[in-house]
Amino acid sequence: MLSKKQLFTRGMLDISPHMLSVIPFGIICGAIGVELGFHPYLVYAMSFIIFGGASQIVFLQLLSGGASSLVAVASVGIINSRHLLYGAVLSEYLEKLSFIKKLLISYVVVDQGFAESNKFFKKNRSEEFLHYHLIGTGCTMWVCWQIATLSGIVLGSFVPEELGLKFAIPLTFIAIVVQDLKKLDHVIVMITCGLSSLLFFEAPFKSYIIISPVIALFVAALLLRLKK
């Protein structure tokens, strides 16, 4: 049985490699906000209040492009709606927590943290304080995101644009799913999602980000039926 501290540390260690892509992306996010002409305090407030990488950039771009606040808020909500799926998966492991703890832990659920903690949870179901792993991944991500966006806001885009570091984001997610390429059913689900995301890329409010997972999960349900 691992202690709370051990689980927290394990979570920190499991997510830390992803900082290789998260930190440059955070710097870019912060710098873009200031470049688009928004007040530095407001740009930073987003990292604290919204705390959601890509959705922050979209939010700024929409507002600077003259979109209404309603459209900007709706887009953020739709882009981040994928967290509903993460929550549904994680709820199994967080069931025993008190309502207050559930409310607090929810704030730090992010893509990479969900991915790494979910992998850990599947292998270590019997651990009593499992949620400390999720707190470890989430807090590491939170601290790095705040520092990275702040440095982008203060120092500007000191990461040279020619390096194309935004490309590190798809790479980080490739690292997350690549081992599932061993399983044919997962490959089919991934390709369905990927192709749908390209097909629906033009759909309003960036809704491809939730439309394609829904289609892919529908295909997953069909596959499960065929397997029986």
């Binding site: 987003m46 919204i50 509903l84 549904a88 559930k102 798809p170 980080t172 999602c193």
Partner: protein
């Protein structure tokens, strides 16, 4: 942009994170749904990966000889065999840089 707009976006985002964890009890989801939820990572992350590779900053499709496709393939191969996140990201970036700075420059 006012702070109010950000706060609304933040509250909405927080609700997407909190709803399924705090408001839905696991028993409300049947076994079939639980089995489908096993696929969530495979069903969600390609929606970030594919547009990140195949669609450029202007929202249009890239050419088939774009360095990103090569970089992504290298990342997949290195990631598959190394099982190492840093190796996967670095391999993808380095091979991408090799093409844009050495081969295509």
């Amino acid at each position: 942009m006012t702070l109010t707009t950000i706060i609304f976006a933040g509250i909405l985002t927080y609700f997407t994170r909190m709803t399924m964890i705090a408001l839905i009890s696991r028993d409300m989801l049947g076994d079939k749904i639980k089995a489908v939820l096993e696929y969530v990572p495979s069903a969600v992350f390609p929606a970030i990966i594919f547009p990140g590779i195949f669609i450029n900053d202007f929202g249009t499709f890239i050419e088939m000889n774009d360095p990103k496709i090569f970089g992504a393939l290298v990342a997949v191969i290195v990631g598959y065999f190394s099982k190492n996140i840093i190796a996967t990201i670095s391999a993808g970036l380095v091979s991408y840089w090799f093409l844009i700075f050495v081969v295509f420059s």
